[in-house]
Each structure stands twice: as structure tokens, then as C-alpha cells.
Amino acid sequence: MGIYTVARDDFRNARRSSIVLGVIGVFAALMALIFLAEMDIYDDPYRTLFDALFFVSLVLPLLLAPLCYLSIAGDRISGTITYVMGLPNRRWEYFAGKFLSRFAVAAAAIALSTAVGFAIAAVTFANVPSIRRFLIFGGVSLLYALAFSSLFVAISAGAPSRSRAMFGAIGAYFVLIVFWFGFFPFIRLSVLLDTIADLPWVTLSETTRAYIEAVSPGTAYLQGTKPVFSGVMGEYEAFERSFRTSDELHTEFWFNALVLLAWSAVSLTVGYLSFRRSELG
């Protein structure tokens, strides 16, 4: 009974908070904006899904961070955890309940925004949108949300204060998205790998580099959405530029899905172990 009650109470508490509804609403509204902006540019809704991918890969973690970073740390700061853990709840039940509740909010944001995108595409685009492509897009995005909400809840479980939880979440975003994708000229993964490769006793093959670049949830998400464009890969130049095609495993869908699942599993395990040992109150 514990895990369900914890998750339901946390979800209900979040649902009634205007901030959380705002997060879901803003995400869906931005997705709507992308489709509305491109309805006269492209005939194919899947081309806009491609642009939506980049939006999700950058913005979804930014929305999940404030949603999750205080999920457990906030309860410890305010003392709500004393109410929950004063009742017969085991620590894993509390941890799992909190995670499920926050992930449910993330899932709601993805479901709503995918549905909104589909509806707009159906009404305004020249070609009819494919339900299958939108479902795959929503499904892989859910895996992405799973990886990041696990990571942020785990950071929250291990953080004894608000500031540490915040720095942890921002740090994770910076390293896994900004640094890995390489948004800045010098502070980026490729520069780091070049530096390492230049060391006299190190050899770094192109394949190894490709695997290192593939293990961030951000890159795994982008590569993992390849099935959305199955059969139309040659239609747009942007597709061919972005999706790697080789015999290497890291270009396979299942490899990228496993990377996302592994981020979730490892985060939740480490987060729980840290929370199980931690002293409350």
C-alpha cells in the first residue's frame, strides 16, 4: 500500500500546484508553436518532428530539473518526510513513490505535447501525419524523460540541502547536454577527447570516440529516434546529416534505448542506496 499512497499523494500535491501545471502547459505550448511555425514551410509533419526532437532534447531536462530536484531534498528540508516516514513506509517505498509521481508528471507533459503536435499537424499540414511516427516519437521521448527524471530524483535523494540539490541538477544538465553536445567553443567533449588523444601514450580510435559520444542521454535520445524516420531517411538532407549510419552498435535503436534505460537504472540504484543510508531529521 505504501508506494501507491506515497506516489498518489505526491502526484496529487503536484497536480494542484500551478507551477507543475504551468510546466506541462508551457511544454505543450512550445511544441504547438513549433508545429504552427512550420506548417507553411514543410509539407511533411515528420520533418517538424525532427525539429521537435532538438527542442525536447534541450528543453525537457530543463523542465524536469525544477520538477524533480526537490522531490526528496525538499521533503527533508520542510519536514514533510517526517509525516510520510513516521507512518509505516519503507525507505524504498518512499523513494519509489516519489520517483513514480515525478515521472508521471513528465510523462503527462510528453503525452500532452505529442498529442497537441499531432492535432495541429493533422489540421494544418499538407500531408497527413503518421500516428505511428508520433507514437514512436512519444515513446522514445518517454525513455528520455525516464533517464533524466531518475537522475534528478537520485540527485535529490542524495542531497542534504536545497543548494546542493540545485547544483547537482544544474551540473548534470551542463555536463550531459551542454558539454556533451558541444555548445561552447572550448568547453566541450570533443575538445577534451582531442586533448586526451594528443597525449603520447594514449590512442583513441574513432570508434571509441563515437561510443563515448553516444553514452550521454542526450545523444542516445537523438540517435534513438531514428525509427521515427524509417523509410523517409533520404527525403531531407537534415536527416542524413544528423543520424549516423554505420555498422556500429551505437547507431542501432536498441543500443540507444539501453543507454537511456541504463541511465535510469544506475541513477535510481545509486540514489536509493544513498537515501537508504542517510539520516533523516
Partner: protein, 330 residues
Amino acid sequence: MPALRTKDLTKRFGDVTAVQDLNLTVEDGEVFGFLGPNGAGKSTTINVILGFLDPTEGTATVLGHDVAHESYRIRQRIGLLPEAFDVYENLTGREHVVSAIETKGARDDPDAIIDRVGLDPEDARRAAGGYSKGMQQRLALGIALVGDPDLLILDEPSSGLDPKGIKLLRRIVREEVERGATVFFSSHILGQVEKVCDRVGIMADGEMVAVDTIDNLREEIGAGAVVEATVDEVPDLDPIRSMDEVREVSAADDVVRISCSAPEAKMPALRRLDDAGTVRDIDVEDTSLESLFEQYTNGGATETTGTGADASGTTGSTDDTATATAGGGD
């Protein structure tokens, strides 16, 4: 089997020792007052009992279960009113009670519990984030009562409660004991526990400095009561001084101050004063319990024999609390 037992329980945070070698036994079915000023180690002890903190040394058992390894089973059988806690701000009070009932697998009627702790049914259906401290305490008490617990742990339960709420709290404590529960009542105000507790333990600086019934503690420390009488003319005070339980008599202008070693000595002394001259007004300082508490927690009373001097020294400084205690009694 005692409801709660600690053996050489010690809890340290780095270099700071919060609780030192605590040996405490709370018998089944009693109301135990756990007293001490803020920072004495009360909440740390309770957090160890709940399994929130691990003991550094020593052991503690609750209802026969070890706190370090069987916390879940313990929490199935206790009811907790925590000191520092917060509600889910967007859930109603009633939803909190319903969740507690679900989690404990109990069959209570949430509305009956809400009614019992005096929470207005309309308030119970509002978001608990907007509750006053008193309403939140009533809600926490209701949550603690869910599932007829064998042991109630009440940490500063009267904070934020008005006199009516405090009276209700005492009544509920008595009802719970009659049902067969044990009550562990933590407070920093002696006046809150003396009316309901069978025994009290006094904590100071992480150590238990005294455990006994309030009457025995009072007797041991020689604390009594002080009465001030306004008289027309100050008579010869020697006959009063010679009375058995009168410790000290002094006069300033038209006020005679009689310090007794036992509260029941006040009236005979007053009668004798009234026989010798006319008493126009009296003022009673029943400060004995507060001064007793202060002496223990200031660390002066345990070994010293000169407690009488300490008692008169602290009497004057506790006037306010003494008056509040006397006024709040029922």
C-alpha cells in the same frame, strides 16, 4: 515487556554529543513525560527511536523491536506527532488522515478522527498548507491516533494549541491510556505534562538527570511554594517561622512573604498570619515545579545538598511561567 527501553544510547554528530548514555524504560500503559529545554537531546532521542537516525552506541527497543533493524514494524504499531514537520501543502487535512489510515491498513473513519481532535470539518477539506500552527497540531494528533497505536509518541504536542486545545489533548491522552496505550509525551514545559504524566524524565545536555514521579522529584529537591500576603500591619512573624514546613518568612512594607517546603503548608501558615493580623490580599507563586525543572536542567540539583538556596534563587525568575501554569490549569 516495557513499551520503550534504551540501553546506554548515545548519538553523536561529529564532535557534538546530542545524547549520552541514555538508559530509559517506559513501562507498558504509562504516560511518560520526557522533559528538557530545547537542545537537550529529546528530539534526537525520538528520531533514533523512529529509525530516522542510527544510534552511535547502545541500543533501543520499542515494543520489543530493535529500532535500528525493525523500524518498519515499530512504525506499524506507534502513532507519531512529530515536532518539526510539514504537511503536503496542496492536500487537504482529511486526505492526510485517509493516507495514514491506508498506510497503516487501519479501518478508522477519517471524519470521526477529525471530529475527535476538534478540527472543523470544513477546514479538514481545505488545503493543509493554509493551516495555522494549532490546526496543523490537531491534524498531526489525528494522524497519530490512526490505527489505535500501542505507543503514542507526542513531540511537543501542545505547541501552537490554545488552552481549549491543550485541554482536549490531555483528555485524548487519558482516553488513549484507558484504551491500553502507552504515551511518551515530550515537552520543554513542565506545566504541560504534570497533569497527565505518571512519571517524568528530565533531560539536560544530552543526559537524563532525573526520572521519577513529579511528587517524588518535588520532595527530593525540597521545592515548595511561596505565598505573599498583604496585611494591615506586620505582626510578630516568629510563630509562623517556627512552623514545620515553613522555610523562610520575610516582610517588606505591608507584604509578608512565606516560603514553604511543601505546597500544602501554605494554608496553615496563612491561617496563623490571619490570626495574628488581618490579611487583605494574597498572591501565590506555585513555582515549585518550574524551579525544580530549572534546577535539574541547570545542572545544580543532582548532587548538591544546598538545594534550598537554589530554589529561592530561581523562584523570583520564574514568576511569569508560574502564573501561566497556574492560569492554564483545569
